[in-house]
């Protein structure tokens, strides 16, 4: 007994030391990870002329760079564009994908396996390889330089169907079957019973579509060529040259571009983190 307690004690002490080292390493890395962000903020609150001295000290704190950026760029339009495009893409994806998944999960029809595999195959086709045909297609549809060009290709996301189907498959069916017995239509069951139960899946798909659409660069860069239509990333990528060596302004524009998503992140931290953990969703 005594020797066992001693060993346990030693193990505990050893573990405590180990934990302390772990904490040290972890905090060091976390700080390292925060430096770029802190440096961006540090630079943005200085006058432009003082940014080139490269010091963390802020002698004359000012928000001029922020007000100047808001005044000289179309930042507000970009916010509006990003918000509309991302929201509509998220809404569209949730509706269209959950309906398809509902059919795959709850209905019996011919060639269901073929349909399912045809959709699953879509996961393999990255949007990036379709930019060339997409551009010609939207050109032919006369939809270039409209938000539809950004929204529409985002919506048929095979991965979202897959996520919804997995979730629906895991839901209990007693309630639905009772409703069907009472003569409720499939749409009613979908709308009133399944969708409310699937709120976690809806949240995950909606948030992820929103964030990926918001952050998308390559495709919007091609189709939104008018600056007052641009999304935040496209706007920042396009006008960055105009700032030249005004580092404070550049950092202010970066921070302003980051704010909405940082807000989304802080609000939905749990959903985002659990969404990733659960599904391994990635652009």
């Amino acid at each position: 007994m005594v020797t066992a307690e001693l060993t346990m004690d030693r193990i505990h002490r050893r573990e405590k030391l180990f934990n302390r080292i772990c904490a040290g390493v972890l905090i060091a890395f976390a700080l390292l990870w925060l430096i770029p962000l802190l440096w961006a903020v540090d630079t943005a609150v200085k006058p432009n002329a003082e940014t080139t001295r490269t010091t963390w000290l802020i002698d004359n704190p000012t928000f001029d760079a922020f007000t100047r950026t808001l005044r000289e760029t179309d930042m507000w339009s970009w916010y509006g564009a990003s918000f509309i495009v991302s929201s509509l893409a998220a809404l569209g994806t949730v509706v269209v994908a959950s309906m398809a998944a509902f059919a795959l999960s709850r209905m019996r029809f011919r060639h269901k396996n073929i349909v399912f595999w045809a959709i699953l195959a879509g996961i393999m086709i990255p949007g990036q390889v379709l930019i060339v045909p997409w551009f010609r297609e939207f050109d032919a549809l006369r939809l270039l330089n409209t938000y539809w060009a950004v929204i529409l290709p985002q919506i048929p996301a095979a991965i979202a169907v897959f996520i919804f189907k997995q979730f629906f498959d895991g839901l209990p069916r007693d309630l639905e079957e009772a409703a069907r017995m009472d003569g409720a239509s499939f749409f009613r069951v979908y709308r009133r019973i399944v969708l409310p139960l699937a709120r976690p899946a809806v949240a995950a798909v909606a948030i992820f579509t929103f964030v990926t659409t918001w952050n998308d660069l390559l495709w919007p860069l091609l189709v939104l060529s008018n600056p007052d239509l641009m999304t935040v990333p496209v706007g920042l990528a396009t006008v960055q040259g105009a700032f030249g060596i005004r580092y404070a302004d550049t950092m202010a524009s970066a921070i302003l571009g980051a704010i909405p998503l940082v807000a989304v992140f802080l609000l939905f931290q749990r959903q985002i983190v659990q969404g990733i953990a659960g599904s391994g969703l990635k652009g």
Binding site: W76, R199, N226, D228
Partner: protein
């Protein structure tokens, strides 16, 4: 498992959305439909730094004079991205009414059928007849004898020098003028003397993350020797090995001997000259504003005629021009609005010239006003000696052509490649483009 959305979160999102939608209201509506407002004038340019500031002044001048036209000006990052954007916007039926294009890039836009032809009668209606422009630039801008652009300036590669440092180095004559650097010896000697004064470097030439600047210096020297890069509309590569090697060997020695810093990027070269760490800077004349703002004792002059000898002066240059991208529908009122705008810009040539560019609008270029502007008029003759980039579907300012050549030249300056390797690399890459059927 993922927790349900809370009411608080939904409210926050709705609030964010409402704010965003309200602030971007008009444009949001614009993005969901294909219609567009009338009576406005969108103008795209690629001017940053001092040019951007002066363009802003000119735009304000236009706004004050024409309150009936709502002008929306947009500045985009220059180079390939700008021209790609301009092409895509025109293809996508939302081009700006007026845009800036380099003269050397304008031709490919014309061949791609993206620009409106400017008919002489329309131009004449706004007083813009060919005889009012510098002839070299006007004629260089014609495509099959037709006008598609209105040039406003020639922007040559020039030499900036710090007058204090040159004074101390004994490079100024009694009148305070820089002694000519018109031979390899004189040039190298001046750089060495300036280096002794600064204790750091003689001159500075950006070549890191920057391909246009090394190309400009090379092209200036190479054209002074009479060298050509491309022939037959870019379908043939005709690099003269002997001449190119001569120029590259010379440039290589500048960094190799420590007269020029290596490696150095664009902004670094500007900072170096502004801080007095180099006596000379080789760059486009547009950097004038930077040094005026910095209250630096400096002047500017023609890029030295190191290889040209007596009569054969040449300097790399391009011209900024106004173009009218092809609109989805014709509209006479819009055309007049656009030309009124261009004319107003030409009339403000003085403001533009303050930014260092050589004016082409003769009513101003031949005036005593211009002759009195110093240092801007020191290099006025560069407009007549302009060596524009060769024609080709892949050529023009900031194009693949300049990236290919400028990168190879940069490798020589950094010591990563020998002149022979650089020429082989240029030729190989250019021949590949030259052999590809033109998509225009």
């Amino acid at each position: 498992m993922t927790r349900n959305l809370t009411r608080r979160q939904l409210l926050a999102v709705a609030g964010l959305g409402a704010t965003a939608a309200l602030t971007g209201c008009s444009t949001v509506a614009g993005g969901l439909t294909t219609s567009r407002e009338t009576g406005t004038l969108d103008f795209w340019n690629l001017f940053g730094g001092g040019d951007g500031v002066r363009m802003q002044q000119m735009l304000d001048g236009f706004r004050a004079e024409h309150t009936d036209i709502e002008l929306a000006a947009v500045t985009l990052a220059w180079g390939n991205p700008y021209y790609t954007k301009l092409s895509l916007a025109t293809l996508g039926d939302r081009p700006p009414e007026v845009a800036i294009s380099h003269l050397t890039r304008m031709k490919n836009l014309v061949r791609a059928d993206l620009l409106e032809e400017l008919r002489p009668e329309d131009l004449a209606r706004h007083g813009m007849t060919p005889d009012k422009f510098n002839q070299r630039a006007w004629e260089a801008a014609l495509v099959d004898g037709k006008a598609y652009c209105i040039p406003i300036d020639t922007h040559p590669f020039v030499m900036f020098y710090n007058t204090d440092i040159c004074q101390k180095a004994g490079l100024l004559d009694a009148a305070g003028k820089l002694t000519p650097l018109d031979s390899t010896e004189a040039f190298t000697d001046a750089m060495r003397k300036a280096k002794e004064v600064t204790g750091a470097y003689g001159g500075a030439l950006a070549f890191v993350s920057e391909t246009s600047t090394p190309w400009r210096m090379f092209q200036s020297f190479y054209s002074q020797l009479g060298g050509q890069m491309l022939a037959e509309s870019g379908t043939k590569v005709v690099i003269d090995d002997a001449k190119a090697t001569q120029v590259l060997e010379f440039m290589k020695k500048l960094t190799g001997d420590g007269l020029f810093p290596s490696p150095i990027d664009y902004q670094g070269s500007i900072a170096m000259f502004a801080n007095g760490q180099s006596g000379f800077l080789f760059q486009g004349e547009w950097e004038i504003t930077t040094f005026q703002t910095a209250k630096l004792p400096f002047s500017m002059t023609l890029f030295p005629n190191v290889f040209g000898g007596g009569g054969n002066y040449a300097v790399q240059a391009d011209s900024h021009t106004f173009v009218l991208p092809r609109q989805p529908n014709r509209d006479a009122a819009r055309l007049d609005r656009s030309l009124t705008f261009v004319r107003s810009m030409l009339d403000q040539s003085k403001t533009w010239t303050e930014g260092g560019h050589v004016p082409l609008w003769l009513p101003f270029a031949e005036s005593s006003d211009y002759a009195r502007m110093s240092p801007q008029s020191n290099y006025a003759s560069a407009a007549d000696a302009a060596a524009y980039d060769a024609e080709g579907w892949y050529s023009g300012s900031g194009s693949n052509f300049e990236i290919i050549t400028g990168s190879a030249i940069g490798d020589v300056l950094s010591g990563a490649a020998t002149p022979q390797q650089a020429i082989a690399q240029m030729r190989g890459n250019l021949e590949q483009l030259a052999g590809t059927p033109s998509p225009l």
